[in-house]
């Protein structure tokens, strides 16, 4: 019953066409039954895409046997809501069992989710938020290239979302990087939720793709011969990537669902359902079988395959220790460690490739030295952060260590939802944010990234590291590159004094540990990242001038509060938090919730930090405004005592 993969076939035989046509019929029957049984889903778009999905999965080097390997073709379904059609087609090729999908579609805990997920064999990217699929394809193509593989990357998209700006960005990066192995297909059924494309938002599909330098083909998206010809033509075209505009009919073969926007996102109802089943000569009992099955609990085995971020296999080299009295910026310490590690592993086929992405800020984010040593692993994406965020995520899913360095505001504020999708995908990309906090120079509120902790805290997989000095930055960079999962390293712009205690070759980075640098029982200060140096100066002054002795903790993992340290601090008279981050959403807020949940209280609790957007001025002037100076901290301590 299972359809043969037709990878390498250049012309379809009559029998092959017949087989594909019956598969299309079966797939439509299964897809519509899923939706009707779940009484929820997107049937019409699923129906318009069936022949496209069948052709792509037929011609791709992607099978149930190789789908867990890295060296194979990738397929991204950008319009993940067409899942019923995708599942039904995956079943035809033996990736999954059709009946299980029919029974469990959109059931809580089932892998057959409303939008496609990587836990289903044959799916390479969780989608759902439109416009990101092509970027994911570019990420996979770059990972393929870094591993010297010669596979294709297919991206199937709807037409309504062709207007999303991120698509234009991804198109240009694909051209700039000569990713001629990408084949994009647009299901051009000319219907979106509110009507025909031209009624909603005019876009000249051919012209916008051509303007960005793509090879544009057109075909009948329900005709297997035309689809196969176009895909094979695209495979053989080596001057640029290709997009195939596939003319389709919304709800094709779906009776009353045909040609209307009404069944974009809802079940057809029994009347239309049985019309379709009759028309397609399907089993009239299938729906009942599904409905009966849905009365039971979900069986464990349908939870899908496990998706984990890759475990990097690289040498992380010898630490660089910056001696006290040397001042350097954390950015440079990061850049040096990255370049050293890059060089150490570059083009070593036994090591995981490291890809570094830039958005026209290389000299400021200090990835230029890496580029010098590892030119082929450096990807310039221009001022196109949305695509870059997704590309860097998908590249890591494609099996490389993927690192994007950017200013804080562009690297997280601008692209929060892209990183959220990376997290949902368990992608495991690395994000280096410079110019975070108030330490951005005189650029003003638009450039002050005082919300990176508050933003990342909304996701569940990300770690954030905010190193306090160049030595901790060096160690954290090595930790980040070697550790699986999504990790963000955040730092400011200015030169920093070395913390004496950290200037030691044996000094290690430990995620989740607050480092106690001063002891005292008058009170406790928790300082975030480089605020530690300022807190230490305040504490030392209070100790020498007023004999007030405080605990000072250096916090570098704000998302992972150190309960032992907090417990200890609760035995002193107060807790004062010091951070150049939004006072409502940073370290203090995280600590407060943990304390409340664990019934931990200091006598007094005060949080220092910006309570508004900061003005344009020198970082130290701006910090002073919000009490984040030696004097400001001393004043706060005096208030608390």
């Amino acid at each position: 019953m299972t359809l043969k993969n037709l990878y390498g076939v250049s012309k379809l035989s009559d029998e092959q066409i017949l087989n594909l046509k019956s598969a299309a019929t079966r797939a439509r029957i299964n897809a519509i039954t899923m939706v009707q049984a779940a009484d929820s889903g997107h049937p019409a778009g699923a129906f318009s895409g069936i022949e496209i999905f069948l052709s792509v999965y037929a011609l791709a080097n992607l099978t149930p046997n190789n789908c867990d390997n890295l060296n194979r073709d990738n397929i991204i379904i950008s319009h993940g809501h067409t899942s019923p059609g995708v599942y039904a087609v995956l079943a035809e090729f033996g990736f999954i069992d059709a009946l299980e999908a029919v029974k469990n579609f959109r059931r809580c805990g089932s892998v057959f989710q409303g939008h496609v997920v990587r836990e289903i064999p044959g799916i390479d990217w969780d989608t759902g938020n439109l416009g990101q699929g092509l970027s994911a394809g570019v990420g996979y193509a770059l990972a393929q290239r870094a591993r010297n593989f010669k596979n294709n990357v297919f991206v199937v998209m709807g037409d309504g979302a062709q207007t999303k700006g991120q698509l234009a960005e991804a198109r240009r990066i694909a051209i700039n990087e000569n990713l001629n192995n990408i084949i994009a297909l647009i299901d051009n059924n000319d219907i979106q939720i509110c009507g025909h494309l031209d009624e909603i938002m005019k876009i000249n599909l051919k012209e916008v793709w051509r303007a960005d330098g793509w090879n544009v083909l057109e075909c009948d998206g329900h005709n297997f011969n035309e689809l196969f010809n176009a895909i094979n033509q695209a495979k053989n075209f080596k001057n640029s990537p290709t997009v195939i505009i596939c003319k389709t009919l919304m709800g094709k073969d779906g009776c009353a669902m045909e040609g209307t926007n009404e069944y974009h996102g809802k079940a057809p109802g029994e009347k239309i359902y049985f019309d379709i089943i009759k028309n397609l000569k399907g089993d009239e009992n299938l729906l009942n079988t599904a409905l009966e099955a849905r009365k039971n609990n979900l069986p464990q085995k349908y939870f899908g395959r496990e998706i984990k971020p890759i475990t990097p296999n690289i040498e992380t080299g010898n630490v660089i220790t910056y001696e006290p009295n040397i001042k350097t910026d954390n950015r440079s310490a990061f850049g040096k460690a990255l370049a050293q590690i890059g060089k150490l592993n570059y083009k070593n086929p036994d090591k995981t490739p490291i890809l570094v992405f830039d958005c026209d800020l290389m000299p400021s984010v200090k990835t230029d030295e890496f580029k010098k040593y590892c030119p082929e692993n450096f990807v310039q994406c221009g001022i196109q952060e949305h695509a870059t965020a997704t590309i860097s995520g998908a590249a890591s899913a494609g099996g490389v260590i993927s690192l994007w360095a950017d200013f804080g505001v562009f690297g997280i504020d601008e692209v929060y939802n892209q990183h959220r999708l990376n997290d949902i995908n368990n992608a495991g990309n690395k994000l280096v944010l410079t110019h975070t906090g108030l330490d951005v120079g005189e650029d003003g509120a638009t450039h002050q990234c005082i919300d990176y902790i508050g933003l990342m805290r909304n996701m569940f997989g990300w770690k954030i590291i905010v190193p306090a000095d160049p030595n901790q930055t060096d160690r954290a960079t090595r930790y980040m590159l070697k550790t699986p999962g999504c990790i963000c390293l955040a730092m400011g712009r200015s030169k920093r004094e070395v913390i004496k205690e950290f200037a030691d070759d044996n000094f290690k980075f430990e995620y989740g540990k607050a480092i106690k640098l001063r002891s005292g029982n008058s009170g406790s200060i928790f300082a975030l990242g480089y605020m530690t140096q300022i807190a230490l100066k305040a504490a030392d002054k209070l100790s020498s001038e007023k004999n007030i002795n405080l605990n000072v903790y250096c916090v570098s993992s704000p998302l992972a509060p150190d309960l032992n340290a907090i417990r200890e601090a609760c035995n002193t008279k107060f807790i004062l938090t010091v951070e150049d981050h939004n006072i409502n959403t940073g370290m203090a807020s995280i600590m407060a919730l943990e304390m409340m949940k664990n019934n931990l209280h200091a006598e007094k609790f005060k949080n220092l930090g910006p309570d508004n957007f900061g003005p344009s001025g020198s970082s130290s002037d701006v910090r002073k405004l919000f009490g984040l100076s030696v004097d400001g901290i001393i004043n706060a301590v005096n208030e608390l005592i």
Copy 2:
């Protein structure tokens, strides 16, 4: 000394050209002195744009006398880092005093910020994060149209950021809405931070603008005759908006700054500075004057004009009261109130126009009835959320009540940074998010907006309202439309029971008040929005079955915790929070920080809510997984007691 505004002039006289040329020289002298005195800023881009800025401000109907009115031309400087050039040109036209800008550029607290802000007369939008300026221009143009004004909107942009996807979105919306009064100008100096455009990211400027239907003109961006001709040609062209690609030289007339990317973002240093001054025959003492002035504190008067969101002047009609036992979704209650108010004020020249924006989700977000009654005030933006977010913000700055309704994930997760810039701009737009929390149907993690509170909490101006039932939704809609400032109204998808206590024509919405619906001293529940109904059921069951009596508070303003209610609850045995929002970043987290700061503690504190991305399943199944059911709440209470 002040240059004359040349609005309406079609051909420049020799004298006018001479005046403009000397203004350009003075502007360059002032601009470079600002940067050198501040030892910070972006001089080379400022120099390349001087003639463009002079031409635009000369030909626009925008003067120091009318710049606080609504009925005039708008000018958006999208690449706000060229501020030294803009300030110097504004001074030429008498908007500001040149010497004050020279003395105070980039000083902490000064209005002469690193990136332009609306507090400076003549500036219509705070920019700094690239790629948003054209969207802001579209927003202003739509506001102009809604008020029946016939003015032009000028948008000046750099060329490096032409790759940003949001630009393509804004281009299409401008075409779709026939905004032929927009004139965009690109300063095409062919240099971005890391090199020439083609070295960083290839883009065919002419082709991408043409592909989206714009009229494309080209001119020498340093030649006043050519600039004036092009702008006048654009003004007279009525078939589409026009973009003028102005060929310029990076750092023009800036000696060693010419033609290089080195002085994109730093001061030239004394050597080059004095070369430039000599070359331009400037006053060699100006720098010293500025440096001397910078030793003093900033005088109060340079803090700029006050920018406030508009105060809506509309009738909000009679409340609609939904009787108990009626079930309707909050979305529909919102849509009904909006349509009613829209109809009441539509085309009334004495009332503030209400503009409603959609991204192809009208039937789901319930703005279709508004569209029926107020077709000319409804703007379809297609699947282009980034542009829409900025457009809706700028439209409100342009003097209309601007409301965008979208699914939560698309309306805030995808466009956080756009709303952040709206907030920095004090724009005052209204954002209606439907499908928030876990109440999204079976669409899965990508569509579950369980972070809207955690995201908005990172900004400082936004209010969030999460109504519990249709009656509160009705009242909150009226409150939102009438209240100045950025306000977000967030709601789920499903039908909700009416809360008996709210089914009253006299029931009012009060921002910041937690409404106590049950009393008891065993413990206290704070429930967010529609979780109130579920909490009430649990409380009533505990009361009748176990004689456990609890306070139940309905929280609808999670960003504004009600300290009186919290204080009262701290006298009971526990506080239990119930919210279908990320457990780490929602109402509980806000309450915990407030409690910690105010030294308020309940004996026990527990927060219920999702601690991970939710699976795809029915909303009630998914809620149950996270303990957000009647039984889940009862279990939590039993644990706490």
